[in-house]
């Protein structure tokens, strides 16, 4: 049998699932191809829509969100420094920033040379300054590591901790499935704590404690706890008290706290974002200087949405030097993260300020994106709550809604007979009938016997009404069918 025969593939690789880019993404591509093909051959469109609306992934620019002009003026000049000699084409502050970045890379190639493995010193200094201002807590650039997006950062950090099948990491349920996928790839144990749908998807410290005990009694050694704040897929934003409780718990158990804060700019209600770093610093010294905290950020979300650039980072608080050296070593095997992504990371941490030439346009672009996301979150939530057998918590943050659907018993039974996941079948039906791609709730984890889907709030605002209506019509007729 050859090395790549199915039976020979690593079982850890075979086992894990990543629903965001799973079946629904693959079928979406197939449908788009079929429509294109039919058009090219002059045949009728086999689907009642022109193109799949990809709400399965938090990928704003794919759905026509425009990039921030300030970012792209700078990246174009950094790519081709001769353009800085044409200041008439750009805002003056963008030209100045591009020159600053070109100089800081220390070589003619700018984005063409490997940077130091942790990232360019200039970029790490800029991020450190941003975090200091945001949190009012000192931050050393030496504790910052640049990565190709936050996803790989999470994998690197977990790789240090998992070296035995009984090493576990606690993640929320529902979770962003990257977490489960990473733990399983590393051969560890995924341990859940629950987000409470009846309380705006907030976690409950007593549940966390109970779950921890339960896993410990199974012989599992918990190494870390993951918090996604604001939450993906559920949109919860943690109040300070909850943050403090989680910090205390992790400190008491001496486990690492991994804080995924990539949606920090996506806040839709009056519950503000508070970083774990900031709250940690307000606690008693023994905790503030004890808890091992790793905070993640990215250029992919917020109002910048530069997903394709793959820029991410993690910041270490109270992580011992040897562990940080080991992080460095893992990153060093891929030499460094892509420098364009690093550059954009530095830009999102140092955006135009009032009075800067770029500010008016920047403000207009930013406010339009955030305003639109907020309105879409509210609009879709209302629609979902009007659907028969559907209920939805409002999103306090992030970019998704996670409505609960009551699937008819008859449908569930039929699916089980066909060995199908009813939640998946529902979403595929929706995709084929409406052209809207969403991700099955079972891909994130959900309480047994409940069903959900995650929809990204990304279609342009002039299409959102249509998206809402199509889902409503589909869902109501689906429910009718099984009555």
């Amino acid at each position: 049998m050859r090395s790549f025969a199915s039976e020979n593939i690593s079982p850890d690789v075979v086992a894990f699932q990543f629903a965001v880019r799973g079946k629904i993404a693959i079928i979406s591509e197939e449908i788009d191809s079929a429509i294109k093909k039919a058009k090219a051959e002059g045949k009728p469109n086999p689907y009642p829509f022109e193109k799949v609306v990809k709400c399965n992934s938090g990928n704003p620019q794919l759905l026509n969100q425009k990039p921030l002009t300030f970012i792209r003026e700078i990246t174009s000049m950094v790519e081709y420094p001769a353009l800085t000699e044409h200041p008439e084409l750009f805002h003056a502050d963008a030209v100045a920033r591009a020159k600053e970045i070109i100089k800081a890379t220390g070589c003619d190639g700018t984005t063409g040379a490997y940077s130091p493995s942790k990232g360019l010193a200039y970029v790490r200094q800029t991020i450190a300054h941003f975090l200091e201002e945001r949190d009012n807590v000192p931050m050393s650039p030496e504790d910052i590591y640049l990565t190709d997006g936050a996803s790989i950062a999470i994998k690197i950090v977990m790789q240090l901790m998992i070296s035995h099948p009984l090493h576990g990491i606690m993640i929320p349920n529902p979770q962003y499935p990257l977490y489960g996928a990473c733990i399983q790839q590393l051969g560890g144990k995924t341990c859940h704590y629950n987000l409470n749908e009846d309380n705006y998807w907030l976690p409950d410290i007593n549940d966390i404690k109970e779950q921890y005990e339960k896993y410990q009694n199974q012989g599992i050694k918990i190494k870390a706890l993951v918090v996604i704040n604001p939450g993906n897929p559920c949109g919860e934003v943690l109040p300070i008290d909850t943050i403090k409780e989680i910090i205390k718990f992790c400190n008491e158990k001496k486990i690492c706290l991994m804080a995924d804060e990539v949606y920090q700019e996506n806040i839709w209600t009056d519950i503000p974002f508070n970083s774990f770093r900031k709250v940690l610093a307000t606690m008693e010294p023994e905790i503030a200087h004890g808890l091992e905290l790793i905070s993640f950020h990215s250029i992919s979300k917020g109002f910048y949405g530069e997903c394709g650039k793959r820029g991410g980072m993690f910041a270490c608080t109270n992580i011992p030097e040897f562990a940080r050296l080991m992080m460095y070593k893992i990153i060093s095997t891929t030499l460094c993260s892509n420098v364009v992504g690093q550059v954009v990371m530095s830009i999102i941490c140092n955006l135009p300020k009032e009075g800067d030439p770029s500010y008016p346009l920047f403000k207009q672009e930013r406010d339009a994106i955030l305003g639109s996301l907020k309105r879409k979150a509210e609009y879709l939530c209302d629609i979902f709550n009007k659907c028969d057998g559907m209920s939805c918590n409002r999103a306090a943050g992030a970019m998704y809604l996670f409505p609960r659907i009551t699937l008819p018993e008859k449908f569930i039974q039929e699916c089980h007979e066909r060995h199908e996941d009813p939640n998946e079948t529902y979403c595929i039906e929706m995709l084929k009938k409406t052209g809207i791609a969403v991700v099955k709730g079972s891909g994130f984890g959900q309480r047994k016997g409940t069903y959900h889907f995650r929809i990204a709030l990304l279609p342009p605002e002039n299409e959102i009404e249509e998206v809402g209506k199509r889902i409503q019509v589909f869902h109501n007729s689906f429910m009718q069918q099984y009555k």
Copy 2:
């Protein structure tokens, strides 16, 4: 004990070494900082040089190699499409290509949207076309996967194969240390075959067979064999007959052949580069359609040298669909590779042709880079062979020389007494005395009792004489000291 206490770090992570970015890279940064600091404080420079010459990494643009204008014109426009309305600033074919790429990404954000996980269809089609032309063998874009540089591609492929401490992968000795580092991180066994220094560092099929038997007798299940051609660190280029022997061997043992071909454009003698794909296609059908072959390429080397962009890929030949789905799944957890790197990958596979407006400048830039690399390879090799107790094979390809140094017995003994690696101490001495950073041979692996270093051929040509002389003076005085 907390999660990141030294004793708690995964032993697989602690164990592996990656010399290219190890101690020598860290000391280099420290020295540069110390010189800068001394200057800033008005104190005398503590070192007899102005700046470290970083020959420890294949990072051409850091050492002032200019990026290709054609690439950067395109990437700047792709970043900021409004620039395509200023054709006076760019070559016409670059504008046309930029527009083609912007259109192909299918969204306003171009490089700002996640691409499909395997990479943009346009990019994969362009690469497939390039491989078909190069090898005269059909290639499906579906068998091509884009990655953030070739290093992570290698790790992904290995991850599918290694799931047990007795799963082994055969790699050359000396190797590029990424290979050993990946295998060890994945918890597998590094198995060596030898490159023969007495025969221009070529591998010998009898040795490969012997080593295979030896490991098999130890209970190790060999899953794959890695070939780096042209070779890093040794610069060997494989003759067709050797390629055929290795193909036959891997096919017979039913193991995967991993062909690292990132230096395919770096050829310095009359031994031409032949891809494993091309040679495989000429063999009897049972082998041509049987051998599991994965070929790696990158934008970091050749004459393009766009290391910081982190663009890489692998192409599958005869890999079953299920295994390819698992590759897709691993990549999908990080969503996709960075799109700028993908775009550049498409450009290096479709460079200006005679008659194109960009061609004259492109040809001039390319020929200058390749001509200079070739002259530097020859010049340094001559110098090394003139040094007392140093001998060096000429490089037939790639970007490095790997001279052998005969270290004095007395020095070796002193090092052992101090628990130092004599090879490392020698390189650190060289760095501190000459400002030239090279990597110890022991970081790549070498026959017991032999010592080498790897030097990248990257200092600008007007400095290469100086570099050669400094090493010569250092080495001769070092040898004198221990006589």
